[in-house]
Amino acid sequence: MKGLAAPLRHARFVVTENPVTGFALALFILFIVAAVFGPSLAPHDPLASNTAQALQPPSGQYWFGTDQLGRDIFSRALVAARLDIGIAAASVALVFAMGGFAGLASGFFGGWTDALVGRLSDTIMAFPLFVLAMAIVAALGNTVPNIVLATAIINFPLYVRVARAETTTRRDAGFVDAARVAGHRDMGVLLGQVMPNIMPLMVVQMSLTMGYAILNAAGLSFIGLGVRPPTPEWGIMVAEGASFIVSGEWWVALFPGATLMVAVFCFNLLGDGLRDIVDPRRRT
């Protein structure tokens, strides 16, 4: 496959040239492994309470210590990866499809399409975004699909803006005319010619908002509007551990919080690295 060899070689070049990207990629793989195989990798049952072992500090047996019900925090943080990353990935995929297409269409066709999409994202941006997400989840109900939807909606204007700006600069490009002469109609030009050109920035945007989406999902759970206990989820775990910080059991909140932070960090770093990989101008 000659089509695949060149990008792979380029990807290796980017990773070796920029060790930070390599580091982010390694973290990313770690999180994906945790998300996919988490439940079978966990050393303890994340839901089994054992009051005899409650609030144990980190040790060889309980790496991250135990919480007030004696549950292993490491196992819970590991298992939570699937839910948190799953919610974030689903919402990013959803907003990428909705916002990306809306932005493309609004930049390409202009006119009333642009006005409609523009006013819609202005309306969303008129609210404090986290409060809007809270309102959506509170109104629609406390379920995972609604958290995904709320997270997608608050990111909508970001995607529209990026896609629209990138499309307007290319709408009148020579290659758009060339594509029309080659027999492409509007939709063909939009999806086949313009979209591949805005993909690099959209991919960067996806990776950056992925971190934001994880934070948002965890934030909703933290204030009790997201996933419900006893489901292992980073936001709930931080919320549960918050009250123990003052009494000295710092590990209950710290480790889930640190895991959350590293996950967000990883996706942000990965965004920069991905841009280098997908940009053909660096493929020399």
Binding site: K2, A173, G174, F175, D177, A178, A179, R180, V181, A182, G183, H184, R185, D186, Q193, P196, N197, P280, R281, R283, T284
Partner: protein, 329 residues
């Protein structure tokens, strides 16, 4: 006329609104008359030159003829078929789409930055002619060879190609479809002088080899004189002079053409007696329909030029000139 012409354009107009219609006064939006009442004919196998200064509407006309935008009025008959009935957006999938092709001004910009040279040439072939697999490859191969594009460049992206190579990709893409009419919108404007020559030679060879008719848009009069059979001179959206290229440049009849020819730099130090053109063109926004567009800049204009728009008049040697004062010889 022994053969019906390949392209017969009659009274073609393109007007762009600027701003909006005023609601309070009810006056319509002002219009830019980019192409105004243009009629021309291209015979099979002929090269028609289209010259004029920047902003005279030659690129707009090229886009109209390439069916990239819709005319406001007028007709375009191609091989006996009226094309203006079909909007440009529908024409994209018309069987005649492949027969009219265009080579763009900036070859680098007209290739999708995410397409390789091969993809750029193959895209139209696949889309309009339905080639795929090895047949597609053979077609691309043939077009690339005709245009002198070595195989080694096929997998390169436009930013990895030189200006001349990009121009060749642009030409290969157009001729791969075997068009009957090829519109060349200043194909050499973005190239080095040394590369210009090779590209022009290539175009000349392709024309005889494939029997394509060219519409050659350019502001380089020397190139037009060498390459074109007939020439159309435009000024502010209107045709001012038409005729065989040699005759028009040797003895221009319209004062604008005279100024244009006199403005060609010469190395031999001989200066033509014709005064140089000075000043700026009139505004193309809602121009006076009863005044010659060239009036005000014209060295021989009189009051008659503001009272009546000069129409194209026929002169011997198949020439036409739109000037009240044009005389033979």
């Amino acid at each position: 006329m022994e053969h019906p012409p390949l392209l017969d354009v009659a009274e073609l107009c393109k007007r762009f609104p600027i701003g909006r219609r005023s609601w309070r006064k009810g006056t319509p939006a002002p219009m830019v008359h980019a192409v105004d009442d243009v009629s021309l004919v291209v015979q099979r196998g002929e090269t028609l030159g289209l010259v004029g200064e920047s902003g005279c509407g030659k690129s707009t006309l090229a886009r109209l003829l390439a069916r990239l935008s819709d005319a406001t009025e007028g007709s375009i008959r191609f091989a006996g078929r009226e094309l203006t009935e079909l909007p440009a957006s529908k024409f994209a999938r018309d069987p005649d789409r492949a027969r009219i092709q265009i080579v763009f001004q900036d070859a680098g910009e007209s290739i999708n930055p995410r397409f390789t040279a091969y993809d750029a040439i193959a895209d139209a072939l696949h889309h309009l002619k339905g080639f795929s697999g090895s047949a597609l490859r053979a077609q691309v191969d043939e077009a690339a060879e005709l245009c002198g594009l070595p195989l080694a460049l096929w997998e390169r992206f436009p930013h990895q190609l030189s200006g001349g190579q990009r121009a060749r990709v642009g030409i290969a893409r157009a001729i791969a479809l075997r068009p009957e009419l090829l519109i060349l919108d200043e194909p050499t404007a973005a190239l080095d002088v040394s590369v210009q020559v090779t590209i022009l030679k290539l175009l000349e060879r392709l024309k005889t080899q494939l029997g394509i008719s060219y519409i050659f848009v350019s502001h380089d009069l020397n190139v037009v004189r060498l390459l074109c059979d007939r020439v159309v001179v435009m000024y502010l959206g209107r045709i001012v002079e038409v005729g065989p290229a040699q005759a028009v440049f040797d003895a221009p009849l319209h004062p604008y053409t005279r100024g244009l020819v006199a403005a060609v730099p010469r190395l031999d130090g001989v200066r033509s007696a014709t005064p140089r053109l000075s000043g700026d063109p009139r505004s193309p926004i809602d121009p006076d329909p009863n005044a010659c567009r060239f009036h005000g800049r014209c060295p021989i204009g009189t009051d008659r030029c503001t009272a009546a728009m000069p129409a194209l008049r026929s002169f011997p040697d198949r020439r036409e000139v739109a000037c009240h004062f044009a005389v033979e010889g």
